[in-house]
Subunit: 239 residues, 6 copies
Amino acid sequence: MNWQRPDGRKSDRLRPITFEKDFTRFATSSVLTRCGDTQVLCTVSIQDGVPKFLEGKGQGWLTAEYRMLPGATPQRQTRELMKLSGRTQEIQRLIGRSLRAALDLEALGERTAIVDADVLQADAGTRTTAITGGFVALAMAMDKLVAAGALARSPIRHQIAAISVGLLHGEPYLDLNYTEDVAAEIDCNIVMNDRLEIVELQGTAEEGSFSRAQLDRILDVAEKGMQELFVAQRAALEG
Amino acid sequence: MNWQRPDGRKSDRLRPITFEKDFTRFATSSVLTRCGDTQVLCTVSIQDGVPKFLEGKGQGWLTAEYRMLPGATPQRQTRELMKLSGRTQEIQRLIGRSLRAALDLEALGERTAIVDADVLQADAGTRTTAITGGFVALAMAMDKLVAAGALARSPIRHQIAAISVGLLHGEPYLDLNYTEDVAAEIDCNIVMNDRLEIVELQGTAEEGSFSRAQLDRILDVAEKGMQELFVAQRAALEG
Amino acid sequence: MNWQRPDGRKSDRLRPITFEKDFTRFATSSVLTRCGDTQVLCTVSIQDGVPKFLEGKGQGWLTAEYRMLPGATPQRQTRELMKLSGRTQEIQRLIGRSLRAALDLEALGERTAIVDADVLQADAGTRTTAITGGFVALAMAMDKLVAAGALARSPIRHQIAAISVGLLHGEPYLDLNYTEDVAAEIDCNIVMNDRLEIVELQGTAEEGSFSRAQLDRILDVAEKGMQELFVAQRAALEG
Amino acid sequence: MNWQRPDGRKSDRLRPITFEKDFTRFATSSVLTRCGDTQVLCTVSIQDGVPKFLEGKGQGWLTAEYRMLPGATPQRQTRELMKLSGRTQEIQRLIGRSLRAALDLEALGERTAIVDADVLQADAGTRTTAITGGFVALAMAMDKLVAAGALARSPIRHQIAAISVGLLHGEPYLDLNYTEDVAAEIDCNIVMNDRLEIVELQGTAEEGSFSRAQLDRILDVAEKGMQELFVAQRAALEG
Amino acid sequence: MNWQRPDGRKSDRLRPITFEKDFTRFATSSVLTRCGDTQVLCTVSIQDGVPKFLEGKGQGWLTAEYRMLPGATPQRQTRELMKLSGRTQEIQRLIGRSLRAALDLEALGERTAIVDADVLQADAGTRTTAITGGFVALAMAMDKLVAAGALARSPIRHQIAAISVGLLHGEPYLDLNYTEDVAAEIDCNIVMNDRLEIVELQGTAEEGSFSRAQLDRILDVAEKGMQELFVAQRAALEG
Amino acid sequence: MNWQRPDGRKSDRLRPITFEKDFTRFATSSVLTRCGDTQVLCTVSIQDGVPKFLEGKGQGWLTAEYRMLPGATPQRQTRELMKLSGRTQEIQRLIGRSLRAALDLEALGERTAIVDADVLQADAGTRTTAITGGFVALAMAMDKLVAAGALARSPIRHQIAAISVGLLHGEPYLDLNYTEDVAAEIDCNIVMNDRLEIVELQGTAEEGSFSRAQLDRILDVAEKGMQELFVAQRAALEG
C-alpha cells in the first residue's frame, strides 16, 4: 500500500523552497525562508566578544534561538514564558550545532553570530527550514563583515542544509508537511554538508522501529533532496 | 528653531502605511502592517470561551500580546524570558484596551479574540502600528465569523486607530520615527475612534513638561493623522 | 442626571490629605500619606552609585517600587511573587518618571534615590497618593543630604503632585474613591509640577470614549485640586 | 563580665510593647504591634474554604505570610521576588504553626484565616512580635465572626505569645534588639501558651554551643517575659 | 593511527555492566545500574491515571526524569533549579521515548509509569545506562503489577537497550568513558529493541562530519554491544 | 498507656546505623549513611574561594544542599523545580549551621565545603541522618586535604551528630521512623557536639504542647542516643 501525498508530490520531491533576502533590514542579515507553507524568518546578528568559556581562545562562536509565533498554527500556541519546552531547546541546540559546522570559528575571530529563527507559519519541517535558510543568512552576514573590512575573507567553510525524511507504510518520503508528519511512523532529520557528509542524524521512532535497510533508503532520499537544497542556496546567494 | 525631519516629511504628515492582508494563513486572520520602516505582524486567533472572571456573563473578550523579535533593531535585543518588562506589559495592555473599544463584546458572544502583535522591524511607533493594524486584522476575523455563520453580523462597533505625536523644540510632530523619538522632549500616544473621540491618551514628559496649549496643538495634529489612518484602514478592508 | 458622591463631597473637592512624617525612622525618610481611606507608606532610601547605563555620566537616578499589602482591601489580594502584574509595573514606572521630574539629577550626583510606596489601605487613588506623598518624602530625604553636608543645596527643582479625575455621567469628578472609580466611564491620572505644567497625562476609557471638550473640563478640575495639593505639601514640609 | 544593654534594660525586661488595634480597617482585623523600635502590621483575612488537603474534613485552617518592607532597616533590603529566602519561609511557617496552636480548628469550621505580618520597621524580634501581635489580631477576627453570627463562640482555645532570649557572655537576656541580636552567641525563640507550656522552641548556636543548665536559665527568663506578654495582650483585647 | 583505550578494552567491548535490583524498596521498583564507573539509580513509580491529552483513550503512559547529583563528577555541578538545561531535557525526553517503545501502552491500561534516573556517578554514557537499566526496572515494575493482580500479563512487548559509539581517529569505539567522550569527533547514541531494530539514532558531529560508510561501521559495533546488553538484562531479570 | 514500637525497639534505642564510605569516588568524599530504612548519600566537594560576604576575611565556609529523590517514598514525590519548599530550605540551612559547628573555619582557609545530602530512601529522620553522616563525610574530606598537603592539620574541632526524639502518649521515644513520626504529638530535633553541648534544638508541637519536665526527659533520651552515634562515627572513620 502506498501513501498518496496531500500535494501530489512524488516521494522523493522537495516542497518549493524560496529565500527572500533582506526581508528586514536592521539586523546584520535577514532571510525569510518559505518551504511550502512553512515560513521561517532567519536573522543573524553579529556581536563582538564570545561567551565566557571561550574567552581568550582566539575563536568565535555561533548560537541560535528558535521560537514559533503563536499564530503560526491553526490552533494558537501559547508563548513560552518562564521556561522553554524541551522541544524548543532541542531545536535551537540543533540549529546552533549545525550552523557552527559551516564556520571556521577561528577565522571568525572573537565574535558571536546569533541566529534567530522565528517561525511565522508552521507546516512541519520548521527546524530543517531554519537550518537551510539560516545558512543563507549566515553566509550573507559573513559577506557583510568582509565588505566592511572586518574580515579578509568569509569564514564559511562548508555549505550546510537540512531535510526531513519520514517512513509512511514503511517507505521513505522526503520533506514531510504537517499532515504527513503526524501520520509517519518514523521521523528522521538529517543535516549534511556539501560533500554529502553527515553533520547530524536524528532518527526517532515515535511508534515502532526501523531496520538498517530502511535507514539506507532514508539516506538515499535525503541525499537527493540535499543536492537540490545546495543548488537553491547557491542560487539565492548569487542572486 | 525648527526640527528638520530625517525623511523630509512635513510636521503633520504620516509615514507611508500599508496593510498586507493574509500574510500568513493558519491563524483566523493576519495582517503585516508596515508604517515606514516599522513592520508589525498582527494575527488574530478566535477561541471559544472567556476568562474565568467573565464566565456566564454572556459576553466575549479580547486580549493582546506584544513582542519584539530580537533582530528587529540594529542592536539585537534579548528575548524576554522568565518575566516581561514593564514596557512590554504596558504596551500589550494598551493594545488590548484599545481594540476592546472597537467591539460590542456582547455581540461577540462567549468567545475570546487573541491579538498577537509581533514586531518584525522597529523604527518607533510599534504600539500605535500594532493598534492600527490590529484593528484591520480584527475586522477581518469578525468577517470570517460572519462568513462561517457563527455570527449574524460583525460585532465591530467602532473603527479604532492610534498615532504618536512628539514635541521637538516645543512644536508637535506627527508619527515619529526612531531618530525623532529619541530626540523628543514629550511623547504622546493617542488612540481614537472614528468619531474622533479619545479612547486612550498617554502623554509622557521624559524630560521637562508641557502646557495645556501645547496639548491642544498635539491633539490637532493627531486628529489630522487619525483621519488619514481611518481612510487607509477602510481601503485595506474593502480591497 | 448627577452623581451623588458617597461622602457628600462637591465634584471638585479633594478628600482630606495628611502627611505623617517620620512614621518609621530607619530609612532616610518616611511619610505615611493618608488621602481619605487610602494609606500609603512612602520611604526613601539613598544609595551611592547609579545603574549601569548611567555610570560615569555624573548624574544621579531615582527609581520607585510600588506594592499593595494583602490586607489593604476588603477582599485579600495575593502577593505578587514570581512576577509583577502589568498594573504594578505600570504604576511603579509612573511613580519613578513623575518623581524624577522633581529632581535636578545632575545636582544629585552619582546617587540613587529609591522610593518605596507600600499601600497599607486602598480606597482608590493609590498611585496618585504615592506620587504626592512620595514627593514629600523625597524633599525630606534631600534636606537630610544637605544637613549631612553631602550636598550643598537640595536638588529639588519642581514640586510634583498627582491627582485622578473621573467622568461619571459625562461630568468630571476630582479624586475618586473606590466606589466612584468602579462606576467611572473614564479615568484620568494627571501629574503636574508647581507651574501647573503637565508631566504625565493618562486618560483611559475602560468603556466608551471622551471628547476634547470633556478633556478640557477634566484638566480644569485637576488644576484646582493640584493647587490645593501643593499647599498641603508645603505645609507638611515646613511643619 | 556583664553585658550593658544599649537601652539600659535589666536582663529580664521586655521592651515596651503596644497594640494599635484597627490600624487599617478593610481587612477582617488589623493590629499595628510595636515592640521597642520594631513595628509589625498584622492583618487577618478570613476566607471561606480550606486548602485541598483538608477539604471535607470539617475543620478550618490558618496560614501566615511574613515580609519585611524594603525601608524597614537602615540598609534598604531588596524585595523578595521570584523566590522567598529560606529565612522568610522559616519565619512564616513558624508564625503559622504557632497561631494554629491558638485555635480549635474544628470549631472554626471550613474557613481559612490568613495572617499577614508585614514588618514596617525592624529592630530584631520581628518573628516573635508577629506572633504576639498576630494573636491579638486573630482573637479580634474571631470575635468579629461571632458578632456577625457566623460562629456561636470564639474558637480561640489558648492565648499564644512568643519571645526571644539570647546568651551574651554566657548569660540570658530577654527580648534582644538588633545590636544585641548581632552580638549574641546563642539565639532562642520560644512560643508558649497561657499555661506556660512550650509550643515551639528553637535554639540556634550561630557560634559555639550551650549547656542544658543554660537552657534552663533561658527558659526561666522566657517564662517571666511570657507572663507579661499575656497580660498586655489581654489588656489590649479588653481595651 | 589507533586510539589506545584508557582501560585497555578492545574497540568493540562494553564496560562491565551490573544491575543491583531493589537497591531501594519504597518505589515500585528500583535498580542501581553500574556501567564501568557510571552509576545510575533507576526507580519506577506507577500512578493511576494518565496525562490530560490521553484521558479516556484507554491507554497508559510512561514518562522519565533525569538528573545528575552534584557530587557525581570530580568538578561539582550546580543543581538545576528554576529551569532545566537543554541537555537534561533532551536526555529525559529520549529516555521516555525509548522506554515507551518497550511497552504495549494499551495493555498497561490507564496508568502512568514514571522512570526516575538519578546519576550518582558520571563517567559518560549516563543516558544509555539510564535506558538500559531503566528497562530492567520497568520490567520488574510490570511484573509487580501482574503479581498484584492488577494486570493479567506484563505489557512489556520489546526488550530495549542503548549504547554509545564514538569515532576516534575515524574508527568506531563502543561504550565510551569520559576521557574518550571528550576526545571523540563523533558521538552516536543508539537505542534498539531485541530484534536489533533501531528505535532512536542520534549522531552528532561536535566537530567534523561522518560518511555513510562510517555510519555503517558504527552500527555494526553497536549491534554487537546491544546483543551483550540484552543477555545481561535477561540474566538480571531472571536472577 | 504505652506505645508499641513497630520494630520492637525500646524507647531509648537507635535504629541500626551504618556508614558506607567512598560509595561514589569522584567527589572529594562520599558516605552512604543508612539509619534503619532511611538512606542518605552525603558527598562533600571542596572548592577554592568563599562567598562574597566572606572574601578577604581569611576564613572558610561550609554550605549544604538537601534533596529527596522522587522515588524515596512509597508515594512518589515531585521534584522541586522553580522553587524550593520551605521544608527543604529549613533542612538545608540546619545541616549547614550544624556542620559549620564542627569546623574551625579559620583553619580551613579560604575554601568552601559543599555538603550534598541526597535522600535515596526516606523513613523519617532524614535531616538528622544527613547531619550525622555528613559529619563523617566532612571529616574524610578534611583528612584528604591534609593528605594532599593543602592543610597542615584537620580543621575539625568538634564531632557533631543529630537525632530526633518524639513524644508519643506523653513519653519520649528516640529516633522515630515514619510511622512513629506521623503519630507523634511533639517532634524534637537535637544537634549536639561531643561534649554533649547543644548546637541546635528544635522542638515543634504540631498538635498540643509540652512542659519543661517533658523537655528534660527528651534531652535525657537524646543524650543517650548521641553518645552511641559518636561511637559509631568514630568507628567508621577509623575503620
